[in-house]
Subunit: 431 residues, 2 copies
Amino acid sequence: MKQLHKQMSSKRDDDTIPMSQSSPYSPKALKHPRSLPRSLHYLFREQRLLFILVGILIGSTFFILQPSLSRLSPAESTSLITRSVSSTNYSPSRMSFNYGGGKTGRVPVGIGPRRLRIVVTGGAGFVGSHLVDKLIGRGDEVIVIDNFFTGRKENLVHLFSNPRFELIRHDVVEPILLEVDQIYHLACPASPVHYKYNPVKTIKTNVMGTLNMLGLAKRVGARFLLTSTSEVYGDPLEHPQKETYWGNVNPIGERSCYDEGKRTAETLAMDYHRGAGVEVRIARIFNTYGPRMCLDDGRVVSNFVAQTIRKHPMTVYGDGKQTRSFQYVSDLVDGLVALMENDHVGPFNLGNPGEFTMLELAEVVKEVIDPSATIEFKPNTADDPHKRKPDISKAKELLNWEPKISLRDGLPRMVSDFRNRILNEDEGKGL
Amino acid sequence: MKQLHKQMSSKRDDDTIPMSQSSPYSPKALKHPRSLPRSLHYLFREQRLLFILVGILIGSTFFILQPSLSRLSPAESTSLITRSVSSTNYSPSRMSFNYGGGKTGRVPVGIGPRRLRIVVTGGAGFVGSHLVDKLIGRGDEVIVIDNFFTGRKENLVHLFSNPRFELIRHDVVEPILLEVDQIYHLACPASPVHYKYNPVKTIKTNVMGTLNMLGLAKRVGARFLLTSTSEVYGDPLEHPQKETYWGNVNPIGERSCYDEGKRTAETLAMDYHRGAGVEVRIARIFNTYGPRMCLDDGRVVSNFVAQTIRKHPMTVYGDGKQTRSFQYVSDLVDGLVALMENDHVGPFNLGNPGEFTMLELAEVVKEVIDPSATIEFKPNTADDPHKRKPDISKAKELLNWEPKISLRDGLPRMVSDFRNRILNEDEGKGL
Ligand SMILES: NC(=O)c1ccc[n+]([C@@H]2O[C@H](COP(=O)([O-])OP(=O)(O)OC[C@H]3O[C@@H](n4cnc5c(N)ncnc54)[C@H](O)[C@@H]3O)[C@@H](O)[C@H]2O)c1
Ligand SMILES: NC(=O)c1ccc[n+]([C@@H]2O[C@H](COP(=O)([O-])OP(=O)(O)OC[C@H]3O[C@@H](n4cnc5c(N)ncnc54)[C@H](O)[C@@H]3O)[C@@H](O)[C@H]2O)c1
């Protein structure tokens, strides 16, 4: 105890030493050591203390005034941060002469060609990257927003050197401000394995993400397209599904985060349309496949193709008699653009009405990729819809759109992409 | 032009005058007028400028350090603000010895009686205030959170002097941190006229509000009860509705903000239950009536009763053959408490299965309140469900709960409350 006390007091001594010792190694400090009373005297003479107080006042005033100077809306301040991250520089004083998001862009007459400025959220993903290719191809400026949860830079790397292309790492759950004419809002994990990974985040992405992008659309007068899903029909009791069908969705199941999230996103879009006059477009996308799909995401086409390339048996859940329709990605992208450019709010089913059972799909994969492929059966997952097939007569009539590429034509187009990525993966593992 | 110039220059003169004139009315100012060079000289002598700089440094340091001192999580800072507003003071160091939100509270053994600390969001509303009465009545501590969108202080004023009661003005769209054992989450506008007023806010309340309160439940280990609604069944195709029915809800209609908002709230509750082990309870409430209901909120019981008291005809929408069930509020409150105290997650239908057409309801109102009352027919509103009636066998069996008060017994109990408020209203207008 005594020792402890001694230690403590010596510790206290140590603490005070440096202040009273004038070390030759402390540069500049204590060059003219003064006694404390003398220093105080010096301080109090000639109103020096008063001037310290004046200084404090000046310093404080600056810091008190400063927040009110920079008091921007959250959206604006966030976008400033993001802009600096992505080091772009749009002149905020440029005026828009077309708020409808029509054919002509926000660039004033006389400044260069009339291009559209288009945001694609989730543009680093499967569908998004194909959409970006099409928009860049026709001459527009495209800004991709993506948090890379499921998206990959590889899907866009061929555009990095294009001055009309830009990539912003940003989560749509946070607001952002950009000057644009059109917003394609795709950001959302799309396959069960991804959207179930963090169901609460999936709902946030769908609700707050959509809210933020609708807020942007309202603020800058842009047209807004939501990529909804055939999952809003749930396990449908109507067959095929028309857009007027209200669906049969389990609100409290494991898939509900996606299904209900997308339904609420549709509600929000319609409320912004009715309440704030935002020009919205709603697409209900049915199963789509093609190059750049996630490998191993549990979606049936990527599963079967990847398994066959890897010489594994194809996994069929349940009896394999549940049906799906399969749309090739270029058909979908054509449909999305047609919907955006037209005058109809929607919702519009975008899908390929050709109906296949899982077993029939497995047959086509066998034919097209590897005749020696085999099938393995596993028990079905919860809430897996039994049947789904779009009625696309609305899109046919009003958008003059219908899919052109059959499953037998489309499947071979994704094989080389899948083969390359699986090869790279295996090489990666081999290292 | 000349005149304008003269005006402008004289204006400029006016602006500069007060600074150079020594008015007898400006107190203290300019007592010892100095010349500018003299003042500057004075400033530069005796290191005064240096001391101003030192002062600026001191002032700035304080303001630079201060935000990092108060850098709490949003939830914490919000709750601090709110607490100071409501001037309560919970010791944050008190430990919980029961995380399940069971019968015993978070107060350590030996410190007073074992009370539960309970939050009721939306507790200033119709259902919430009756629930609070019951909880206070049985000896618990109750904190009400309400933004007073549709709630009224009058509903709680009789509890203001009770030390076990507390009222916090707070919007659930923002997070809040409280030490509690149970959370009854009711905050949400409940009638079409209110939830359609700002549909986007309705969705925010349901999604972000529920997210925030679930986050609180997770953080402090509280049990969480969501008041969902029979509207999750939409315009049901199954009759009566069991809890297993997935519903028939329009995702893009004018009522969707409420219906889809509540469905997503249920999804969130189940995801917190499955993913984070939060003890959740889900109640699906069917039409409820009683004292303190909003007047003029468009719900049929309050409409009919208020109209009859005012000697107006009762408005029936459509043909009046659509049916509803009507539950007296004390039955509902008993059901909510039974659900909270039991071990079943739910969802549970809480409603009165007695089925009435609008015309039959009008007949009962006539009988009970004023035999001379009349009826007026108007066209029906969009998406109004045709039929709704709960199947309450699950609650009967598992919660041992069923409603006790019939429409004929319940209606008279709300008449005097309605009469008083309508009288007060009329007096208010007369002033
Ligand atoms: N592919 C289909 O069969 C299909 C079917 C129905 C609907 N959809 C919808 O189409 C859209 C695109 O689907 P996909 O197949 O290209 O999926 P994908 O997973 O390949 O692409 C989604 C993209 O969104 C990004 N993202 C996810 N959350 C984000 C967030 N919070 N902030 C920013 N970016 C985020 C991902 O990183 C990814 O790049 C999705 O909205 C999906 O729901 C797709
Ligand atoms: N009364 C019914 O017939 C009925 C039927 C089904 C479901 N419900 C549900 O029961 C709950 C209570 O309904 P009620 O009839 O008492 O309605 P009410 O309007 O009287 O009460 C709702 C309360 O929530 C408050 N509130 C609304 N938004 C809020 C926000 N963002 N932050 C904080 N407080 C907020 C309101 O001020 C009000 O006090 C609601 O969730 C409602 O959806 C009621």
